[in-house]
């Protein structure tokens, strides 16, 4: 974005709440079941069926609200949002319109070391729709099939204020929100399974202008990357349009992942009139202060608290602490290591370095991989007591990642024990030194490379198992004796 324009972004995030059963019936919410095996007359919208609110949905919504510093009003209600679509069995969605469960709030983000507070407008409970399955493209398919398994899965829609000013900030917001939802234990937040979905409202305005520009809403953002790219693309598109003297139309656009661009879906004129009205099948919901207090008392540690703890207790840099608190699994891994191995920075380096690299490469989460905290600790201790070198450790770590074996077993199986015995190393060093008199000359003449040559030869001979510090010491002594 050029300096003349400012991007204004607000996000609407749909988080699937982590319940066993749906929001208004007892059907399972499990992902990936055979089509239409998790439905009943209620969630399939049969005549005469009535919704019964799942109490856990409200509890998780309150929990989220508390994490986001929202107000939890004593009274909220459900409303019907009317629209016809084959994946919407009642032809209305039960949602919350003017009295949502959470009002206001904020979350803090950190972009390039800059802290920023992003406002939360509201969060409301609603039911998910089903899924349509087409043969090929929606416009040419001869028929469409309807899968109602997802119908009635509980969602919390979290709406931010238009407080973000760059794609990076939007990404940081979504990442932070995700980690908060994960820490609060309210959602699985799996973007690829759709349990965390995001729409972005994007507008631009000349720097210094107070009024917002006309916004467009971008849908189909299925990853953090897509969010960032789509916002950048859309802001640029709007800027070019304005510079060409066009006006921005308020519309809904979709992100085309393949072509990496946003396309118009429907204009404001084509937008639905949802005809919201109070849901007569559900009485207004009274939320007692006792209930809210009880939930508040059970709130787990949130990412911000955990981050400060890591900085204050272990002296970790903010950056490390931030990464280690991205998910509760990350933090729990770290905390478990620290119980047996007190060097926080070393643990952090390994988690963010080697482990992070391998997880990324294999597209795994920390709790899905073979490395266990106790194994990492075992390995770090082996480095510390000198039985393996740092270089060997990397190879062992990769093997641990692949096979799940303990470092001790790998070291034993591969005979990878570091040679730290002077009696073994000295003859090797002496032989190599004796066999290369010209290099000894070079060394005496002050050529630094000579030392490197000898170390290389020694390591080669010992298959990398020689203790590097000991080799260094013995080699220098030997050369000095020549």
């Amino acid at each position: 974005m050029s300096k003349d324009f400012e991007i204004v972004i607000g996000l609407e995030v749909h988080a699937e709440l982590k319940t066993q059963t749906k929001i208004f019936c007892a059907c399972s919410t499990a992902f990936g079941a055979e089509p239409n095996t998790q439905t009943c007359p209620v969630c399939a919208g049969f005549p005469g069926m009535l919704p019964v609110l799942n109490e856990l949905v409200v509890e998780l919504a309150i929990k989220t609200g508390l994490a986001l510093h929202s107000e939890i009003p004593e009274l909220c209600k459900f409303d019907r949002k009317n629209y016809f679509y084959p994946d919407s069995p009642k032809a209305y969605q039960i949602s919350q319109f003017d009295l949502p469960v959470c009002v206001g709030g904020y979350l803090d983000i950190d972009v390039n070391g800059q802290k920023k507070r992003v406002g939360i407008t509201r969060a409301h409970m609603e039911e998910d729709a089903g899924k349509l399955v087409h043969q090929g493209d929606i416009t040419t398919t001869p028929f469409s099939l309807v899968d109602l398994n997802r119908c009635g899965v509980p969602l919390l829609e979290i709406v931010s204020e238009p407080d973000m000013r760059s794609a990076q900030e939007a990404r940081a917001y979504l990442e932070k929100l995700r980690s908060m939802l994960l820490f609060a234990g309210v959602s699985d937040c799996k973007m690829q399974e759709g349990s965390l979905r995001c729409d972005a409202n994007v507008s631009i305005r000349p720097c210094g202008q107070k009024e917002y520009g006309t916004r467009t809403e971008i849908k189909n953002l299925n990853s953090f990357r897509a969010l960032e790219r789509a916002i950048e693309y859309e802001a640029n598109r709007q800027k070019e349009a304005l510079e060409d003297g066009e006006i921005i139309v308020q519309e809904t656009r979709t992100w085309d992942e393949e072509k990496q661009l946003t396309r118009s879906m429907r204009s404001k004129e084509e937008a639905h009139d949802y005809r919201y009205f109070p849901e007569p099948d559900l009485p207004p919901l009274k939320i007692s202060r006792e209930w809210v207090d009880k939930i508040r008392g059970q709130m787990p540690e949130m990412p911000d608290q955990a981050q400060s703890r890591l900085v204050e207790e272990y002296g970790l840099p903010e950056y490390d602490a931030g990464l280690l608190t991205l998910t509760p699994e990350n933090l729990s891994f770290f905390d478990q290591c620290l119980k047996e191995y007190p060097d926080a920075k070393t643990v952090s380096n390994w988690m963010m370095g080697e482990l992070g690299r391998l997880l990324n490469q294999n597209n795994l989460e920390i709790d899905e991989c073979n490395i266990k905290p106790s194994h990492l600790v075992q390995m770090l201790k082996a480095i510390e007591d000198g039985s393996i070198s740092g270089k060997m450790a990397k190879a062992i770590f990769e093997e641990m990642f692949i096979s799940g074996k303990s470092p001790a077993l790998i070291i034993k199986e591969k005979g990878l024990v570091q040679i730290s015995d002077e009696g073994t190393l000295l003859p090797v060093i002496e032989d190599i030194v004796k066999a290369n008199p010209r290099v000894v000359e070079d060394y005496k003449n002050g050529k630094d490379k000579a030392l490197g040559f000898f170390i290389g030869q020694i390591m080669k001979f010992t298959r990398g198992q020689a203790n590097p510090a000991l080799v260094n010491k013995l080699l220098k002594e030997c050369l000095d004796r020549q």
């Binding site: 005549p47 009535l50 069995p89 009642k90 005809r275 919201y276 007569p280 099948d281 559900l282």
Partner: protein, 484 residues
């Protein structure tokens, strides 16, 4: 006396004394149905075989208590497992639910025997049962006249001795008005008293399940079974249900009865006004205190009702889109035309009219002026009643402005038809219990008296209605259908 002529409690007594069997009752009922149904046309579906089978099972078990072994009818709005449930509409012409409504389930659990499903105005929208997609039902007192609606089939079947009792639903008068036209007892209890689960919704904040019967005791007996909290209906009240038969003692001494002047004004047939005034004198004779009161916002109830009810209906009926069940236009070329063609062909005119009214009232830009305003009027109406009930136990009024009108007479005139509900609609808007009992005749056609109670005080209505019945003969009168 033939068995089909008896009341529920008379049948109970004979069963208990082992003088008769359930099979005999069911056979008698179906003999009667075979004789008169061609004239009355109350039933959409008859379940003779399963009724006989169940009756025999009950006879074999030999345990007769409550309604065990006694036949009953259900308005075709109650979902019945394995039995076609049409709601009077083409769009559900072949719909067979896989589930049972809570109200009918409670009757089945007490071993009641389903005789069949009863005709109704399509989706309960109407006051004459002429809006049924299948056929019109005829008033047993005069076959050229309507039985009222929307629960016209239920009222006519009870009046014609085709079943001893039946369930109906009442959104703006759909139990009380046909009960009045057919000269039977009809109770619409407090909103929330009976579960709506499995009852096809018209206007969810107004719909309520109730009972048609030949006399007050029967009505109370059935209400005892169907009333009470249902965890499957979040709007059903967790309030204890008294035994409604326990205070049927004829004593109304000191009962404070109000009659609202707005319900006796112009537009109400003078014969009806006279009949209700006579009934009030009777109550005074029996020791009740009768005073005139005012319900000043009454005139706004009907217009407000015709915003709230269609608005809710527009959403409730949106699910009939041809995707999952019911009628579908298979000729449609795409999904949008499938929706519109299915609905254009599946719904009748009155249903379409109300869907359009409701959709309009909820539309952006009109919501505040119509729907929201109507909710405020609703509050004022409820306040009117609350004020009167701070000083009185019961309100009495006519049930309808006229007696039953001729078939086809008002068919082309929805506004006149809507006026039929002018005395019953306010009670739904306030969520209160209302009952219609026979209190006279005008040119051979029954007149109904409406008793209105405090929320969840159906007991007082039953008590007062029973007292009136004990001192009059109207409930014993039967229409002459020209057959034995």
């Amino acid at each position: 006396m033939e068995l089909f002529e008896l009341t529920l409690h008379e049948l109970q007594e004979r069963l208990a004394r082992r003088e008769i069997t359930s099979e005999e009752i069911v056979k008698s009922i179906f003999t009667r149905i075979n004789r008169v149904e061609a004239k009355v046309k109350a039933f959409i579906t008859l379940t003779e075989e399963s009724a006989l089978q169940k009756a025999r099972e009950i006879d074999t078990g030999g345990k007769y208590s409550g309604i065990a072994g006694i036949p009953l009818g259900l308005k075709d709005i109650f979902c019945t497992r394995g039995v076609k449930t049409t709601c009077g509409s083409r769009i559900l012409e072949n719909f067979v639910p896989a589930y049972e409504s809570t109200a009918s389930r409670r009757l089945h659990e007490q071993q009641g025997v389903l005789a069949g499903k009863l005709n109704m105005d399509e989706f309960a929208m109407g006051s004459s049962t002429e809006n049924s997609a299948f056929f019109a039902t005829h008033n047993p007192w005069d076959l050229t006249r309507v039985p009222g609606g929307s629960s016209g089939g239920s009222a006519a079947a009870v009046a014609a001795d085709e079943v001893p009792f039946a369930l109906g639903t009442d959104t703006g008068g759909s139990i009380r008005q046909p009960a009045s036209y057919c000269g039977v007892v009809g109770m619409k209890p407090t909103y929330g008293r009976v579960s709506r689960w499995g009852v096809i919704a018209f206007a969810s904040s107004l719909d309520q399940v109730g009972v048609f019967s030949k006399d007050v005791r029967d009505n109370a007996l059935v209400m005892n079974i169907i009333a009470g909290h249902d965890p499957l209906d979040s709007t059903s009240a967790a309030i204890e249900v008294p035994d409604y038969t326990s205070n049927l003692d004829g004593d109304v001494k000191g009962l404070r009865i109000a009659y609202p002047r707005e319900y006796f004004g112009p537009g109400i047939d003078s014969a009806i006004t006279q009949s209700i005034k006579k009934a009030l004198l009777k109550y005074e004779e029996m020791g009740a205190v009768v005073e005139e009161v005012s319900l000043p916002h009454s005139e706004y109830a009907l217009p407000a009702y015709y915003l709230v009810a269609p608005a809710e209906a527009s959403a409730n009926l949106a699910r009939f889109d041809g995707v999952r069940y019911g009628y579908r236009d298979f000729e449609a070329e795409n999904v949008v035309s499938m929706f519109s063609q299915t609905r254009a062909q599946g719904f009748g005119d009155e249903v379409k009219r109300r869907i359009m009214l409701g959709t309009y009232a909820l539309s952006s830009g009109y919501y505040d002026a119509y729907y929201l305003k109507a909710l405020k009027v609703r509050r004022l109406i409820a306040n009117d009643f609350a004020k009167v009930f701070s000083d009185f136990d019961m309100i009495v009024s006519p049930t309808t402005p006229t007696v039953a009108f001729k078939l086809g007479e008002q068919a082309g005139d929805p506004l006149t038809l809507y006026m039929n509900d002018i005395l019953t609609v306010p009670i739904n808007m306030a969520g209160l219990p209302g009952m219609s009992i026979p209190c006279g005749f005008e040119q051979g056609l029954p007149i109904g008296m409406q008793l209105i109670g405090k929320a969840f005080d159906e007991a007082t209505l039953y008590k007062a209605a029973y007292a009136f019945e004990q001192n009059t003969e109207y409930h014993t009168m039967k229409p002459d259908l020209g057959v034995k």
